[in-house]
């Protein structure tokens, strides 16, 4: 079982490493631009937020955004392409359990999310003097977020029937959730109605928890953030396993 798991993970890592120009490099450029424009140029005019200058405020959110996008993109693209070119059959004719298939793909998504996240972190540290309040919190939120969005990408790939279907969710659901999850602002500046609505957005808890790890201050408790993440991971994990085992859109 370990060899089977390791094989899928190595295959996934080699896949995104071979196309590093598409997978690893662009997020670092994009993030640097975000920081330059929003943090550097506009940040000085915005002033402080949650007790820190705007540049330091947005860094955790921007790093987490790249983790979310890349872990999601990796599993959705990889698993959909495996369905599309029928290479998924290599796994289906082999004695690999559905748990191992799921864990392998999720680990691949996590590997890409963490690689890009770490790349962005290193790139950012060239421009900004980064302070980390708790490395443990940063790492836990980093990891759980990557797992959660790898699972979400996997489920999207199971349902996807065409290339359009793998871009609809990131564009029309994921992106608005990220932007409205307090990445660029503290929800404390919103009217009460919008503050309450933001609390239904799971990305708010991730960004807030991650910010806690960097800045030592947050608008919700870190335990709440971790619980929201764990609950969603369990729910999506069970759903992904069920869909895979039933062979939805994979076996007929």
């Amino acid at each position: 079982m370990w060899i089977q798991y390791k094989t899928i993970v190595i295959k996934e890592i080699l896949r995104f490493s071979r196309i590093w120009v598409q997978t690893l490099f662009p997020p670092i450029i994009t993030t640097s631009l975000y920081l330059l424009i929003f943090g550097g140029l506009m940040g000085e005019r915005i002033g402080n937020m949650q007790g820190v200058d705007y540049l330091h405020f947005i860094i955790p959110g921007i790093i987490l955004m790249t983790v979310i996008q890349n872990s999601y993109a990796n599993t959705v693209a990889s698993f959909f392409l495996a369905k599309f070119n029928h290479s998924i059959e290599e796994l289906l004719v082999s004695p690999v359990s559905y748990w191992v298939i799921l864990l392998g793909y999720i680990s691949g998504g996590v590997a890409r999310g963490l690689t890009v996240g770490l790349g962005v972190f290193i790139a950012v540290s060239f421009f900004v003097d980064l302070q980390i309040y708790s490395m443990f919190i940063v790492f836990i939120i980093f990891l759980l977020t990557a797992v959660l969005f790898s699972l979400a990408g996997f489920i999207n790939a199971i349902f996807a029937q065409s290339f359009d279907d793998i871009s609809i969710v990131p564009t029309f659901i994921l992106m608005p959730m990220i932007y409205l999850g307090g990445m660029f602002y503290s929800i404390e500046i919103l009217p009460m109605f919008w503050q309450n609505l933001s609390k239904f957005n799971p990305i708010y808890y991730m960004v807030d928890g991650f910010r806690m790890g960097f800045l030592g201050s947050s608008t919700t408790s870190i335990v709440e953030s971790i619980m929201v993440l764990l609950t969603m991971i369990i729910l999506l994990g069970l759903l992904a396993f069920y869909l895979l085992k039933r062979g939805i859109n994979i076996k007929t």
Binding site: I3, Q4, R15, A82, V93, P95, T252
Partner: protein, 304 residues
């Protein structure tokens, strides 16, 4: 000898209500070289898909070397190697990686897999291309890659779904030699093909599937003995004389040098050549006008 594959009352109804298999019963002996023939849409690929775990069956049972597929799905998968009809590898993966990954899915460590992958790639004449992306291979090379991949975990049963499609004659012959070698080593081979000559040349036993049912399962010899007529083309090195009007068999002159004769099972080729020789017609070359199995296959599947 025990059965390599036993299929009982297998049926498959697709989501669109298409009844692809209507109670298939099939048994294949261990060590056999078995042909599974049928026209397009007859149900061959569905049977293979279910046996290999790619499709869900609607009803019936499958056992592989005594193991029930429902109870021992993983053990059954370890025993089978599949070379499918359609290319089903990632075209953007290097060839050697495809084999090593497949071995990994079967629990074989990378270091061991590399050694056997080298043997297989050399045997398939793909070693020089091992670092190339699979998309860069020709059609025939892609087929050989899929054969190598099917063998990487040393299966006891090899299922080949149209292995020769798009492969040139020379490579097809070399593939046949390799398959015969494997079969001699004890690997049970199940073959579906549109080249009936291939089935006739390689297989000892045969089943013909038509419209989701097995309409014939017997030995190749017995099946071919059912062919009551054979049509031959006879060629002479010299210009043919006048053909006698009355002979024991039907003769048609095709041109100045060749004849087409239709022989019933009561007349052998030697007898026919002797009769023609008595009339001053000397034949230098004899060839079959139509593959015998093909004639029989068409008769069976068209309901004659």
């Amino acid at each position: 000898m025990s059965n390599a594959l036993t299929i009982k009352a297998l049926s498959k109804i697709y989501a669109n209500d298409f009844h692809a298999l209507k109670g298939i019963d099939l048994s294949i002996k261990e060590g056999d070289f078995f042909a599974l023939l049928g026209s397009n849409g007859a149900g061959k690929t569905t049977i293979i898909g279910i046996v290999c775990g790619l499709l869900e069956k609607t009803a019936g049972s499958i056992s592989v070397l005594g193991l029930n597929q429902d109870n021992s799905a993983y053990e059954v998968k370890r025993l089978i190697g599949l070379m499918p009809q359609e290319f089903n590898f990632n075209p953007f993966e290097p060839i050697e990686e495809i084999l090593i990954n497949q071995a990994g899915y079967h629990g074989i460590a990378r270091t061991h897999a590399k050694i056997y992958a080298e043997i297989l790639l050399k045997r398939m004449e793909l070693w020089d291309k091992r670092l190339d992306m699979a998309k860069s291979l020709s059609g025939g090379m892609k087929r050989r890659l899929m054969l190598a991949r099917a063998l990487i975990h040393k299966p006891k049963i090899l299922i080949l779904d149209e292995p020769s499609a798009g492969v040139d004659v020379e490579i097809r012959r070399s593939m046949w030699a390799f398959l015969r070698e494997l079969n001699k080593e004890g690997v049970t081979i199940i073959l579906t093909t549109h080249y009936l000559e291939e089935a006739e040349s390689l297989c000892r036993n045969i089943a013909i599937v038509d419209n989701g049912k097995v309409i014939e399962q017997t030995s190749m010899k017995r099946l071919l003995s059912k062919v009551s007529q054979q049509t031959l083309i006879l060629e002479s090195g010299e210009k043919l004389p006048q053909i006698p009007v009355k002979l024991d068999f039907s003769v048609t002159q095709l041109d100045d040098y060749s004849l087409e004769v239709v022989l019933e099972s009561t007349t052998s080729i030697t007898q026919a050549l002797q009769i023609l020789g008595e009339h001053g017609i000397n034949i230098d070359h004899v060839r079959s006008a139509q593959n015998r199995l093909e004639t029989l296959f068409l008769n069976l599947t068209s309901g004659k």
